[in-house]
């Protein structure tokens, strides 16, 4: 490695949050044209390190150098000026502005006029090259998570950067979109750009990166050249021990618990319309809903969550039609929901871990006495959930917003599964989770099935669906088709159905 090739170096970076050391004397260097994958468990400190590099956080120790020049700590403006671009894991988007305005923000002089047309042209060209389609004029508030992710990526590509940081950019992209992004990344790297890429999807990491750096507990756990690495080796390095494979036994489906009968639903602000949808979820069975996002998953999830009622047809819970949009009644009746956008819809960020775990049950009596909250019981439940689900956090009183993405998901899992629900909606259940946490979530979902729950898993990740689902449904353009038992299917057939062609 010649020193002139090094665009970026982090030297001895340390960051503490109270008692927790999120980054412990980390060193990292990046060369021109290199795609470095940064891996590690949820909470290992990846985002923290990138936030320091980009100036969102100020490090306690250590320096950041770009082309040998020291970067002033805590200044995103300086980082941008030095040619660093960042795609944030927790989207940094203004929801009241359009996608285009979010991309333009901060790139023009504050009183410059008429930059919009030129900006649009440039963005449209980037869209054409990358295949990251978004409606640039829609307000971000009305975009799906996948679309928001694309805006976030376009925002970074729009600036002419020398170093591009992507913090889990593919967590909410379809496999096709991810592939489009990789094509762009490879081309940019060939032109001399340095890329840091964070992902929990080992397949992607192996296909796109040139070098792999693994963090564990805020320290460097190891470094690999991608060409010499395989899944096993990386996973073991990340977790520090071998990751157990999850085994799924054959299902023994019993009575129908939830049924969609000829359901029609009009388009909503963030969901697509549904037509003629009919399927049944039976006790003791996991049904996988495959499909490219934006084809009707939002509507199906809204109906099962009690956020909408069908315009025509009926959703039957235990044989009774659901007539009112009443999430609380559904929760009380034993329906568990794991929402797609967990930061937004899954937790109240400013409330504690304990409050968030108890929040769906405060009326049931488990956490209240004579109409008042029973803090002791909440605390006890939280403490046991933190241990059982391995939620990495300072304690039950920590605010939920401080948790890393994967740990928020474990919190939600603890909340919904502890109640032994009869119907489970798992919408993108392992999005953003590390390999260890992924297999843990899968194990728990299968355990819930074996206990007699009916589970619907919505996912774009076919590996995940094949690992979990006993039976496949495929949604395309608002219509759902039954693809049959998973052991009689292969990826190709599901892929065709997802694209709207008969298998």
């Amino acid at each position: 490695m010649t020193s002139t090739d090094t665009v970026l170096s982090l030297e001895g970076i340390t960051k503490r949050f109270g008692k927790l050391t999120a980054n412990d004397h980390l060193d990292l260097s990046l060369r021109r044209g290199e795609i470095l994958a940064l891996l590690g468990e949820n909470g290992a400190g990846k985002t923290t390190l990138m936030n320091i590099l980009f100036g969102h956080y100020v490090q306690d120790e250590g320096v950041v150098r770009v082309n040998g020049e020291m970067l002033p700590p805590g200044s995103p403006g300086a980082a941008l000026k030095a040619g660093i671009g960042m795609v944030h894991q927790h989207f940094a988007l203004a929801e009241n502005l359009s996608g285009l305005d979010n991309i333009r923000l901060g790139t023009e002089g504050l009183f410059a006029l008429g930059g919009k047309a030129a900006a649009r042209k440039k963005v449209e060209q980037i869209i054409a090259e990358s295949g990251l389609e978004v409606d640039l004029d829609r307000k971000v508030a009305s975009l799906t998570v996948g679309e928001k992710q694309r805006v976030e990526i376009l925002k970074a590509l729009y600036r002419n950067v020398r170093v591009l940081i992507l913090d889990e950019p593919t967590a909410v992209l379809t496999p096709q979109e991810a592939e489009g992004l990789f094509t762009v990344l490879r081309r940019l790297a060939a032109n001399g750009l340095g890329v840091i890429f964070i992902s929990h999807k080992l397949g992607e990491v192996l296909s796109v990166s040139t070098r792999i750096l693994v963090l564990r507990g805020g320290r460097k756990a190891g470094e690999l050249v991608t060409a010499d690495a395989d899944r096993r080796a990386i996973a073991d390095l990340m977790v520090g021990k071998a990751v157990a494979e999850v085994k799924r036994t054959a299902a023994t489906p019993a009575e129908t618990l939830l049924e969609f009968s000829d359901v029609h639903l009009r388009r909503g602000s963030t969901r697509e319309s549904l037509r003629n949808v009919g399927f049944a979820l039976r006790a003791g069975e996991i049904v996988g809903l495959a499909g490219v996002s934006g084809n009707g998953q939002g509507g199906i999830a809204a109906l099962i969550s009690g956020l909408a009622v069908p315009d025509q047809g009926a959703v039957l819970l235990y044989g009774e039609p659901i007539t009112r949009a009443d999430p609380r009644a559904l929760v009380a009746a034993g329906v568990a929901r794991m929402p797609e956008d967990r930061q937004h819809d899954g937790v109240v960020g400013t409330m504690s871990v304990a409050d968030n775990i108890a929040i769906e049950e405060v009326r049931s009596g488990a956490f209240s006495r004579m109409g008042l909250l029973d803090r002791k019981a909440m605390q006890a439940r939280a403490t046991s959930a933190i241990a059982a689900y391995d939620i990495r956090c300072p304690g039950p009183d920590a605010e939920a917003r401080l948790l890393s993405g994967g740990n928020v998901q474990k919190l939600i899992l603890a909340r919904v599964l502890e109640r032994e629900p009869r119907v489970i909606l798992a919408n993108q259940p392992t999005r953003g989770l590390d390999v260890g946490a992924q297999s843990e979530v899968h194990r728990r979902i299968i355990a819930a099935r074996d206990r007699g729950a009916a589970v619907l898993v919505i996912s774009e990740d076919l590996d995940e669906l094949f690992a979990l689902a006993d039976r496949f449904l495929v949604v395309h353009a608002g219509e759902v088709s039954d693809a049959g038992p998973s052991d009689r299917l292969d990826r190709g057939a599901v892929g065709l159905l997802m694209a709207g062609q008969a298998a």
Binding site: Y57, V58, A79, L80, L93, L105, F111, A112, G349
Partner: protein, 315 residues
């Protein structure tokens, strides 16, 4: 019915409505700028008083009318800076800081007035702004007297509506202000200063609020009285919600309130013998509340309103 026709048919009524609306236009624009950036400014009522007093005093001491306007602007900006230090830099409660500023600015204004003019008994007068006529427009039948015979400050207020709308929707600065009131992280991630934008917005917005007060002493009346602001600042806070944080609708809301008030005065003259006078005084406020209920129930608040921003924290 005839009574109503008489009132709404007179150019005089509409001229009064616009005149009454003028201080509210300044105030609601000022509050709107602050809130669009995510900062509630309850100092508005006191800043009105300070603007009214400082502008008037400057004219009284010989600074000239436009000199008075500048002094009022500077006074508002100063109190805005104080609010920004407390609410933006230190991240204290915006409610507490704002109310504190209202109390401080009000009493400081009364104190200054008393110390500057220790001996006077009846309020001294200045020569206020006079209505200007715009060649052509002011001579139009009905519309001329109704719309185009106002003082310069009224025309300035209308110009500010257009200016604020232009900056907010057509310039990158406006984009940044709207973004920082929705999600400060989006602004920081694009290399702009969250604090800088918020401080700037609060200072500029507060300067405009002070002009609302100055209009009272330098245009509507010609002297400074204690209690003359009389809740106009608070009305502006409500009008911002009514306007859904949009300058055009803010103008509409202010005009509506002005029309209610002008109507109330005239109605009182017409049928004042039958109904007690207090009912009429209440009318504009009552109608405002009704309008607010009808319009603002689905109000789309700037999402980061009231939320302080500290660097390096997860939000």
């Amino acid at each position: 019915m005839d009574v109503l026709l008489d009132i709404f048919g007179s150019a005089n009524f509409w001229a009064a409505a616009i005149r009454i609306a003028t201080p509210l236009i300044f105030g609601v624009l000022g509050a709107l700028i602050c809130e669009r950036a995510g900062v509630l400014n309850l100092g508005i009522e006191g800043i009105f008083v300070a603007g009214a007093m400082a502008g008037w005093l400057a004219v009284y001491l010989g600074a000239g009318l436009w000199g008075g306007v500048l002094v009022a602007l500077a006074t508002g900006a100063t109190f805005g800076l104080l609010h920004a230090v407390l609410a933006v830099i230190l991240g204290l409660s915006q409610h507490v800081s704002g109310i504190g500023i209202t109390l401080l600015a009000t009493s400081l204004s009364y104190f200054t007035y008393r110390t500057a003019l220790p001996t006077v008994t009846s309020p001294p007068r200045i020569v206020p702004f006079q209505p200007v006529s715009i060649p052509g427009l002011s001579d139009l039948p009905f519309f001329g007297p109704a719309l185009f015979q106002q003082t310069p400050l009224t025309f300035l207020a209308l110009a500010f509506v257009a200016l604020v709308a232009f900056v907010l929707y057509r310039t990158p600065l406006g984009l940044a202000i709207r973004a920082v009131g929705d999600n400060p992280a989006s602004v920081e991630a694009q290399g702009l200063s969250v604090r800088g934008l918020r401080i700037g917005a609060v200072v500029a917005g507060s300067a405009l609020m002070a002009l609302g007060g100055a209009f009272l002493t330098m245009s509507a009346f010609d002297a400074f009285f204690f209690g003359m602001v009389n809740g106009r600042g608070w009305i502006c806070i409500a009008l911002v919600v009514f306007a859904s944080w949009q300058p055009g609708k803010a103008l509409l809301g202010a005009l509506l309130f002005g029309a209610f008030d002008a109507f109330q005065i005239r109605l009182q003259a017409e049928i004042g013998q039958v109904v007690p006078g207090q009912v009429f005084l209440m009318l504009p406020y009552l109608l405002s509340i009704v309008a607010l209920v009808l319009v603002a129930r689905r109000a789309d608040y700037p999402r980061a309103l009231l939320q302080p921003w500290f660097k390096g924290q997860r939000h």
